[in-house]
């Protein structure tokens, strides 16, 4: 019985992914198509019309839209995202090489956000309208409002240039990770703190919290085991929903700190009109977002037995 429900859920989830991927790939293709052709940029300003025409011919850019789209889709199905002209080899392996760096940065930022937002959110809910609550709420607004390229540059100026605590940019050691991770975590920390606070305020008024108190449990147990656990589902949903935001912030953060992840790769590829890389990065990003949403669904189901996969 349970097996059947699960399988039908997975089956439907998989079926939902197909149209999503079709739409995403079409949009990627279409944007690249209307972005104009990369030939001019590659050959430079001094290219003769004959050279341009030859390269267009060689790249197949003068064929009709649907033929190009058909070939693109056929290549995608075979896992071929085209050859990067910056690197002179297949685009996808280049992107996958960079992916662990982005995961490292994103993971570190996520950990910082959770480590900050959970105690701050819980404390400002239990000390509602106190000085602490007002300060935390204020910081949350500021944290959400600060653009992270600015935050990144300020951190570099203060902590790296003036105080020399961390390297300015690049990668290679844990110290390199600190500033970009803090920069990337800012917005998520602010949003998560706010969500935890408002959910905790609601949960703390529930009858089952009174029951937990009537059992004489230690304060922290009531707070975390009974109250905070009931806030987890909205928090996880929020984290899943902010994945696209984190990825787009990572593009900026990686550029500011020269962190060699897919964000920096994407910016370089766009500047150089290396469309194979652009397509591969966007495709991987889309898959990541789908995967994180699925993971959030599963995690929520584990936490809340009332959620069913139907």
């Amino acid at each position: 019985m349970l097996y059947r429900i699960a399988t039908s859920y997975w089956a439907r989830y998989a079926l939902q992914i197909i149209p999503v991927l079709l739409i995403i790939t079409f949009v990627i293709f279409f944007l690249v198509y209307i972005a104009g052709d990369p030939v001019g940029q590659r050959l430079g300003d001094n290219a003769s019309p004959q050279q341009i025409a030859d390269l267009r011919e060689a790249m197949g850019l003068n064929r009709p839209f649907h033929v190009q789209y058909g070939e693109y889709m056929w290549n995608l199905v075979r896992g071929d995202f085209g050859e990067s002209y910056m690197y002179g080899r297949d685009a996808m392996p280049i992107v996958l090489d960079r992916l662990p760096n982005t995961f490292l940065l994103g993971g570190a930022a996520m950990l910082i956000s959770i480590a900050m937002a959970v105690p701050l959110g819980v404390l400002s809910a239990t000390h509602k309208n106190s000085v602490l609550d007002v300060v935390v709420s204020g910081l949350a607004v500021v944290g959400k409002a600060i653009p992270n390229f600015w935050l990144g540059i300020m951190l570099i100026l203060v902590l790296s240039v003036s105080l020399g605590l961390f390297p300015v940019s690049g990668s290679g050691s844990w110290a390199h990770l600190v500033l970009p991770a803090i920069t990337l975590s800012g917005g998520v920390t602010a949003e998560l703190t706010r969500v935890i606070r408002s959910n905790m305020l609601e949960v703390l008024n529930q009858d089952y919290i009174r029951t937990a108190r009537s059992k004489g449990l230690p304060h922290q147990v009531v707070l975390y085991r009974h109250a905070f656990r009931n806030c987890l589902v909205p928090c996880i949903t929020l984290l899943a929903l902010t994945t696209p935001l984190v990825i787009s912030s990572a593009i900026i953060t990686e550029s500011v700190f020269a962190w060699p992840g897919i964000g920096q790769l994407l910016v370089n590829a766009v500047t150089a009109a290396d469309m194979a890389i652009v397509q591969a990065v966007v495709f991987v990003t889309a898959l990541l977002i789908i995967a994180f949403n699925l993971a959030a669904d599963i995690l929520n189901k584990v936490i809340d037995p009332r959620i069913r996969f139907e």
Binding site: T211, S214, L217, P218, R229, D304
Partner: protein, 342 residues
Amino acid sequence: MTATADFPQQRIMTEKHPPVLEVEKLQISFRGDDSSTTVVEDVSFTVGRGEVVGIVGESGSGKSVTSYGIMGVLPPNAEVTASKMFFAGAHDLVRLPSKKRRRLQGKEISMVFQEPLTSLNPLMSVGKQIAEPLRYHEKLSRKEAKRRTVEALRSVGIPRAEQTYSSYPHELSGGMRQRIMIAIALVCEPQLLIADEPTTALDVSVEAQILRLMKKLRRTTGTSILLITHDLGVIAEMADRVVVMYAGQVVEEAEVYELFREPRHPYTKALMASTPKIEEVRDELESIPGAVPTPSKMPTGCRFAARCPKAMEICSERPPEVELGSGAKTRCWLYAEQETGS
């Protein structure tokens, strides 16, 4: 003479053991933004060992707040004062530091709440919720706590106790959930069980089962029960002694037979008249005109005067608490001159 005088029976008991709960001049107020509202005032009663005391009153009478105050689960903006609130003659519940108080909560004093669905944590299996007091108060191992929990599930009449251990609240029926609440409350064998409207949210047939269960458990464990209800039927079924509350005050206290045979306070009489009786055929049920005064507009005199059919001029002054012998008390001007026992 407004001080409490024990009636003879009780005095015999108190000489050996102090009563489980002694409350004297309990007052509970809630701090608002700029003012404070008093919802319970001058409430005094005792619960003897093994006794079932019922607190009855309509919504807004302060009976639930009183029980939360005794249990220590009021929200942080509540202020509790009392000249005395002794548990087992030894612990002063008003002045007890919260850490020491937690050692009593769930262990010596425990509580069953009105709405079992919302009173159980939806994300925790019912077995774990029952085992929690055992783990924290009796420091039992996981395995031992589970064994005791399954025992507790059986004692509250839950079939297939082992399987139910890992069920979640939403998977159980209302009656089953209330049995779980009772199991949580009784798993550490407390001296005092506070039951706040334990059957109000349940079907009538389930209500009877739960009352029967509570009676049985009281017989086997000897737990004293403070039963909060608006239902005189439940009082008649369960209580040894009854405290009638109105607008945050105790208006009458008597043994259960005496109360039903001879209600003194006009409010108690009105309450009884508005309860349907099986031997009477009536088109319309009697009701008490008007409503309970709100805490902010509390009259200085008798709080029931505005709805009382026997209201007199003197009722605008604060009524005395009159001792009527045999432990019965009432707060009414009608009995002021009958005062006995000094």
